[in-house]
């Protein structure tokens, strides 16, 4: 028998509603609704390349943001088309933060336990 754990958002009935968007928590052992599990996070100043050893032994899901101007945090992807000169890569060992602008920029990174390979 499936084990189900659900917590409905206000205004919805957890016993009868079946839309996962109406729940703050909806787990049923079968569908992984991207309940990403956070392993580590930090903000670091990067100028050039900086390796963040994640210690997981596989490629984890990561989110990375760069403070491109003071107080403005831009979501980063792989090699940038957006001319920021900032991007990130991730492998079995490291989250690699890249800043090719020549000036230090703050990066906020989030590493999750979720294995994406």
């Amino acid at each position: 028998m499936k084990q189900i754990l659900k917590i409905a958002l206000p205004g919805y009935n957890a016993e009868t509603d079946t839309d996962p968007n109406h729940f703050s928590l909806y787990v049923d052992q079968q569908s992984d609704y991207i309940l990403i599990k956070e392993a580590s996070k930090d903000t670091v100043s990067v100028n050039g390349t900086q390796n963040i050893a994640h210690g997981l032994g596989y490629v984890p899901y990561c989110l990375v943001f760069a403070e491109t101007t003071s107080g403005v945090w831009r979501k980063l992807f792989s090699v940038a088309l957006d001319t920021t000169g900032c991007w990130f890569e991730v492998d079995n060992t490291n989250l690699v933060l890249k800043n090719t602008t020549g000036s230090a920029i703050n990066f906020s990174y989030h590493v999750f336990y979720d294995n994406i390979t």
Binding site: Y33, K37, A39, F65, W73, K75, F77, A80, D82
Partner: protein, 133 residues
């Protein structure tokens, strides 16, 4: 320590691998603090078009993830990417609409586009704000 955990079918609740769980209360799960859509009209033949919308969070800067979809076209495209209209082997892809980036500051969500077409283009942005940067 008391924990609440739900293992994926076929995995033991004694597993030490977080990937074996749909939910485990020992690990923070990212929360969506706000989601919604924003419709914008891109000016013709204009690059670096910025659109903002207040997010309403006074005490922190939230993370943002966003997707864009041109009106009347079903495919979505991500920031740092283009809306691929045609693809030809050898010639590669062609996309005149580019979603340059998405960002947040203490007050706003920020979306930036290029439109290299000679006509205005309607775009709907789906955004998700997550926890603090």
């Amino acid at each position: 320590m008391q924990v609440v955990k739900v293992a994926k079918i076929g995995n033991s609740t004694d597993s030490l691998d977080p990937n074996d769980y749909i939910f485990h209360s020992s690990y923070n799960t990212f929360k969506i603090v706000l989601e919604g859509t924003k419709s914008v009209t891109l000016l013709a033949s204009t690059t670096n078009q910025t659109f903002t919308q207040a997010h309403g969070f006074d005490t922190f800067i939230p993370l943002i993830s966003a997707f864009a979809k041109r009106d009347a076209i079903n495919q979505v495209f991500l920031p740092n990417g283009v809306d691929i209209e045609t693809y030809t082997a050898g010639a590669g892809f062609d996309g005149d609409i580019k979603f340059n980036y998405t960002a947040t500051d203490s007050n706003n969500m920020i979306f930036n586009f290029d439109n290299n077409k000679g006509t205005t283009i309607g775009v709907t942005i789906k955004y998700y704000l997550l926890e603090r940067v």
